[in-house]
Symmetry: C2
Subunit: 321 residues, 2 copies
């Protein structure tokens, strides 16, 4: 029996699961697969590369007739890329990292639901001001960029703050136990990233996906290194969680020196990323890697996580029978 | 209808709740109150001050006929303090931060259940080797000393590793939502600290408790400052989470200088602690402070958290009816 929440009702979902809009990973094929499986797929618009966004949104728009969304890094968003995205008629736009207010009128006028991802109480307050339809409370255990608060205490705190706006949990969810726990904390569903990175339909080299399946949650590190060499001007409070590797080990504590060699380092890193060299690649991944032991089709993941959450809730009910 | 788990069955509890053995806060009166209310009270043996431990264990031993326990910081434990503690016939001993193996024979020979608190996979493996009866997976959102991993992904990862040994969740739990979420993640109960610090029966100045009720989860900081000025030689990987205040703001980034003034700073800090001066005191507290808005009797807290968790599970069940 599916779990019904404000999220599943709004988008007629089978499961209260959202694909995290992972930049460069959540492409149109993955988003469409997740939506077709009864969850809500998001394309990761990342830094708003127009050609990439157009290609991937064409894929998702042609790949599903079910609701889907697109996510952007708010501080890097431009009117051009937002207009381009809205032409593909997404049902939802997720904004993370920055003030959503300048974009809300356009997004809401298009009929899209506005998802605002936040990392602390100040962000939650800003999301309410912006008129968010859903607030995503993202814990520091998430892969990629994030804040400092942990999912477990952040979700109920944000839920209390923004009520009656529904909250979703992000960071640390990779299986049915995590989805069920999200519901208990007061969330209406979970935003799942790393688990879907290790899926057949995700973009990214197969060897990087296998690395996620092979490594564990103790093997991540928060770093600014990749932003530095890529020249991305992230706000100081948001670094990112990546799988630790020899590239990070070599440069993490020598960032001033790395700054003087960004061109070469950027070339090396891009080559590693393309060839699947796990020692030199940027593999954004969360602490939930312990729970990921294989690369699987995304539709199977949606089904398994949804059903396992329903079973976890039924099992807990039986504990008090 | 109460939630029954390996924890409640072992100690005949009404609720799968454990009082965290907070050093200097979880005294005999609080532990006895929690045990009498149907949960499992622990006295926080801290650094093993013999006079303190004897006084507080007398209080708990005379204050309840129900099961109770005592917790120690493993690396600071001595045979003298363990022998003293065991003379009071606790039902459980919790060891945190260090290798439990040298102590397990004595603890188990006394008939006590052994609780090992861990912060990562290496710690979980060591707990199994030590023959732990319960493994406490403590997330970085917890108040006081801790590790780097977050509760949400750590609990299921540890549960998978140590099965069939039962796991408890620690860090971030302050209400029924958190207890219910702990159960969903695969835990058999939750270890709750900060919420019980803000209780009538906790040791510590009333003003410090009120500060916990007044502040939020964004207002904590991880620091070694108090260990430095107190002369405690903590392993480098374990700093502690405290309520941010002007003392920390002043010295956090000047620790070499603080090292040269430990005597004066220690005097100042002890005076602040005794007088309840929140600007200068050490208030170990977790990110769950958002969920704590008052100082309440501990028995009421046990009852409310337990019943709210049962209701959260029933409500979730109804979502899929």
């Amino acid at each position: 029996v599916p779990i019904h929440t404000a999220l599943t009702r709004r988008f007629a979902l089978q499961h209260p699961i959202v694909l995290a809009p992972m930049g460069g990973v959540s492409g149109g094929r993955l988003a469409a697969t997740v939506s077709n499986a009864g969850a809500l797929g998001f394309v990761g618009g990342g830094y708003g590369d127009l050609a990439w966004v157009e290609r991937e949104l064409e894929l998702v728009a042609h790949g599903t007739t079910r609701p889907w969304g697109v996510g952007f890094i708010t501080w890097s968003l431009t009117p051009q890329v937002l207009d381009l995205a809205l032409r593909f008629k997404p049902c939802a736009v997720m904004l993370s990292f920055g003030d959503p207010v300048p974009w809300t009128t356009t997004i809401k006028a298009s009929g899209c639901a506005l998802f605002c991802q936040v990392q602390d109480r100040a962000g939650a307050a800003a999301a309410v001001t912006a008129g968010a339809d859903f607030v995503v409370a993202q814990g520091t255990e998430a892969g990629g960029h994030g804040g400092r608060r942990s999912t477990f205490p952040l979700v109920p705190a944000v839920a209390d703050m923004v009520a009656p706006t529904p909250v979703l949990a992000a960071g640390g969810v990779a299986d049915g136990r995590g989805l069920a726990a999200s519901i208990m904390l007061g969330a209406h569903g979970a935003v799942i990233g790393t688990r879907f990175y290790a899926s057949v339909e995700a973009l990214g080299h197969e060897k990087l996906k296998q690395e996620i399946a092979a490594r564990g949650g103790d093997d991540t590190v928060r770093t600014r290194l990749f932003d530095l060499i890529r020249g991305h001007s992230w706000p100081a409070r948001h670094d990112g969680r990546a799988v630790s590797n020899s590239f990070i080990a070599q440069w993490q504590d020598r960032q001033p020196e790395a700054t003087r060699h960004t061109a070469e380092l950027n070339d090396d890193f891009r080559q590693s990323q393309a060839s699947g060299d796990v020692d030199g690649a940027m593999i954004w991944a969360g602490e939930c890697m312990d729970l990921i032991r294989d690369v699987r089709p995304a539709a199977a993941l949606v089904h398994e996580i949804g059903v396992a959450a329903e079973m976890a809730i039924r099992r807990a009910q039986a504990l008090s029978a």
